[in-house]
Amino acid sequence: MPRFIVVEDDHLQEAPLQDYLTSVFPDSTVETISTEEDFRLAMPAMRANIPDLVVLDVMLRWSFPRPNPPKPPKDVLSGGYYRAGLRCAQLLQEDALLRDVPVVLYTILELNDLLRDGQQLPPNSTYVGKNSELDVLVRHIRGVLRKKSRTK
């Protein structure tokens, strides 16, 4: 029973994606996270219950507005909103327990835009463009899961 985590800040995209994944992988559980801040807060829980795959949007807001919010960490302030998903993938990669969790960067950005300024995809991550249909994403997820089960 695969366990997916979808990190997507646009609720209009999040719901259809969650619905589609649930319909394609009927046994799966899909948890959604809407902001980078929530993703960081969810990391201890992820360590306790390691997901099979994480689908990560790249342009991801840090948090929703609220009164007197705490200041974001320095790397968020300097790195900004446009590559937040890459930062999340990197955090997983640097975590001893979570570094083997496959990450699919699912983004509207073209791959060459994503890798501008010499950035690299973390080793745990692969890329799927949002321009394609959802079944392209699903086929990619299946491939990643198969590869993962073979290496176990």
Partner: protein, 728 residues
């Protein structure tokens, strides 16, 4: 017979005087006279101070058969000799028999007056116990006739020999070090030989050479060489020298001659002869005349030596400068090659420059580089950034001369002791050189150097100028590079901002279309039109409108980026049109909003109906775009569980569509800048992070295109955006 003896004596005397192999001396002449007159001895006298009324006679030369030590002792004239001098005629003892006159215990036979060629007078005394024969008298008269001429000839030959000897010594000095000047010590050794030659020729007890360097601050002349063997440099001649001679016959005085060493109108020193190892035991103007050619030789040689040394120092300075500049340039290249300027870069450069000055101008005792702070007042104090050598200023923080150099852009060269003292310099400082560091009108600082001599070395002004120019050039390059780096950084930021904006636009455009497509897929798969399908279709409509707004934003962005202005298609809008537009846009935003955040958009219909029959001239798509962007912002930055109020405020000439929301606070600075392109508030940037910074800029431009304006007010977390349009 007598005539032949006299002729023979004259011949002999002339031969001695003009001997080519061995130049004769006056003693030799006197010996010939003595022998020719069969005397036991002869003494030649003169009255050196006769012109001053003093007729004291002093021995010029003598020949007498007595031990040398006694012969060299000064002796007073005997009465016969004095009588002859006084009467200017022959005097013999018969005249004063009772006095029994002697010289060195030898009886005086006769004394004959002598008229020297230089106008002086003297006496020739002949000694002997056997009386003075007629033949001897005749011979003596003949010899005395030619003796002055021969004495002059001997003196001239002695002078020539002395000049030749000195020439030879100075030539040896040149040969010893042909390419460059002798060391001062070796020069002193050679000049001591000259002193010895002069001392020997004139029978002086001491001959010394005193010299002064052109750069010496002291007014005196230091002794470089001496014939007496005392250490040079331990004596100093104070005051200005003159050419003088003192016979030394006055009681308590000793013979003295001083001749200036001159060249080209400049007095470089003096040649001083003092004391006598005689005879003679006095000096005369003839002796002084003998010194003039030697003094001229020495003056010329010293000047030549100074020139050689200056050239050598100058060459060494240029070589040192070339080496120093190479190391300085290496450092400059290193500093200029770094994109990030270190705070210590300039100081390091200044320290190296000051050190180069100290090495290239060895006479300098201290060098300081002052920096003129950018944007500082021209009259403000310069900042010392590097000092090499000794401290030389009572107050190191200020330099009036350096400020003058900075102000005028001209090198300041100060040697006046009063001016130096006024500039707070310590008393040891003899010269001050302040060189402005500037390129054109741009001033960077001043390079200041001091030394203890009377004036700086000849080429130091040029050396300072070259180094100051180099530092100036470095500063200019630093400024230029700094400016280029800033421009590059700004361009890089602009490029990134543009790229971010493009990505955001793409995100905003593609995401709703992608979502709309997915939702349409669900409706189609469901194959029935129920409440859920209706909700999906409303969302699809909202998404498409949003995509349309974003596409239009992209178009406006492109127009504005090319320097154009959006062209409105104006039409008249009444209250119903306005109400419909506001409700439509608010509905779309509401439908697309995240229901979990519970942000609600309320349109105050009554406020809009207040418009009555008045009309507003607008471009409908522009207005939709403006309201949509403002409400999008409200949805993005409003707190959870808040309401966004949309209302109209009507004045006699305008209608304002006012959107009030509660969310991230805007500061006064935010409000002042939020209509600028690519502006994003710090709070918004650090909280949600999203946004391109184009939305309000586009709204502002579209409102202007419709002759309207945007007004933003904020009261802590309450933000009110008013879109003000003129009523027709």
């Amino acid at each position: 017979m007598i005539m032949m003896a006299a002729a023979h004596a004259v011949q002999q005397l002339t031969r001695v005087a003009l001997n080519q192999d061995r130049p004769g001396t006056i003693e030799d002449l006197i010996e010939v006279v003595a022998r020719s007159t069969e005397s036991q001895g002869a003494v030649l006298w003169e009255a050196p101070d006769e012109s001053q009324g003093d007729n004291t006679l002093s021995v010029v030369a003598l020949w007498i058969d007595i031990p040398a030590p006694i012969r060299t002792r000064a002796v007073p004239a005997d009465p016969i000799t004095e009588l002859s001098f006084a009467t200017r005629s022959l005097a013999v003892p018969d005249n004063l028999a009772e006095m029994n006159p002697t010289i060195f215990s030898h009886p005086v036979n006769a004394a004959l007056p002598i008229n020297y060629n230089d106008g002086g007078h003297g006496v020739l005394s002949l000694l002997g116990a056997d009386g003075f024969s007629a033949a001897a008298f005749e011979t003596t008269v003949e010899l005395v006739e030619i003796l002055p001429d021969l004495c002059s000839a001997v003196r001239e030959r002695q002078t020539l020999a002395l000049v030749n000897a000195c020439n030879s010594i100075l030539h040896d000095a040149d040969v010893e070090s042909p390419g460059r000047p002798l060391s001062r010590e070796r020069l002193g050794d050679h000049l001591s030989k000259v002193c010895n030659e002069v001392a020997r020729a004139l029978r002086c007890a001491d001959v010394s050479i005193y010299l002064r360097e052109p750069t010496d601050r002291a007014s005196g002349y230091r002794r470089l060489s001496t014939s007496s063997g005392t250490a040079p440099g331990t004596w100093e001649f104070k005051g200005e020298p003159v050419d003088l001679v003192r016979s030394g016959l006055a009681p308590g005085s000793e013979p003295l001659m001083e001749v200036r060493l001159r060249h080209g109108g400049t007095v470089h020193g003096l040649l001083r002869c003092q004391g006598s190892t005689g005879p003679p035991h006095h000096f005369t103007t003839s002796d002084l005349a003998m010194l003039f050619p030697i003094a001229a030789q020495l003056g010329r040689y010293w000047r030549g030596w100074l020139q050689k040394r200056d050239i050598q120092d100058e060459n060494a300075a240029w070589r040192g400068l070339a080496a120093g500049m190479t190391s300085l340039n290496k450092l400059l290249a290193q500093n200029l090659g770094r994109e990030v300027r270190s705070g210590t870069d300039d100081q390091q450069v200044s320290e190296v420059a000051a050190e180069i000055i100290r090495q290239v101008v060895p006479e300098s005792t201290g060098a300081t580089v002052f920096r003129f702070p950018a944007e500082a007042d021209i009259d403000s104090t310069l900042v010392p950034v590097a000092l090499a050598g000794q401290e030389y200023r009572h107050d190191s923080a200020s330099s009036a001369s350096a400020l003058t150099a900075l102000r005028t852009g001209l090198q300041q060269h100060i040697t006046d002791p009063e001016a130096l003292a006024a500039d707070e310099l310590t008393p040891e400082v003899g010269w001050l050189l302040c060189t402005p560091i500037h390129i054109g009108e741009q001033r960077y600082g001043v390079l200041e150097t001091v030394g203890q001599n009377a004036r700086p070395p000849a080429n130091s002004a040029q050396v300072h100028k070259i180094i100051a120019d180099q530092i100036g050039l470095y500063n200019r390059l630093q400024d230029t590079l700094g400016h280029l780096y800033d421009v590059r950084q700004r361009l890089e930021i602009a490029r990134r901002t543009e790229a971010d904006a493009m990505e955001d636009l793409k995100h905003q455009l593609v995401s709703p279309l992608r979502t709309a497509a997915s939702r349409a897929e669900f409706v189609l798969v469901g194959r029935r039109f129920d409440a859920r399908a209706e909700s999906q279709l409303k969302a699809i409509r909202g998404l498409c409108r949003k995509a349309s707004r974003v596409a239009m934003s992209a178009g406006v962005f492109a127009t504005l980026s090319q320097g154009g202005q959006p062209e409105p298609k104006l039409e008249l809008f009444g209250r119903d049109d306005l109400l419909r537009t506001l409700i439509g846009v608010a509905d779309d935003i509401q439908v697309l909003g995240d229901p979990r955040r519970e942000i609600y958009f309320d349109v105050d219909r009554d406020s809009i109906r207040q418009l009555g029959r008045r009309l507003v001239q607008i471009d409908a798509s522009f207005l939709q775009q403006c309201i949509g962007n403002v409400l999008d912002n409200a949805a993005k930055y409003a707190y959870t569980r808040t309401r966004v109020k949309i209302e109209a405020r009507i004045s006699p000439k305008t209608v304002a569509i006012v959107v009030t929301s509660t969310g991230l606070p805007m500061t006064k600075e935010d409000i002042a800048q939020c209509l600028q392109r690519n502006w994003r508030g710090d709070t918004a940037r650090s909280t949600t992070g999203e946004g391109s910074g184009l939305g309000l800029w586009i709204v502002d431009n579209l409102m202007h295109a419709m002759s309207g304006r945007v007004v933003i007010r904020a009261d802590f977390d309450q933000t009110r955006v008013s879109l003000v349009l003129p009523l027709t």
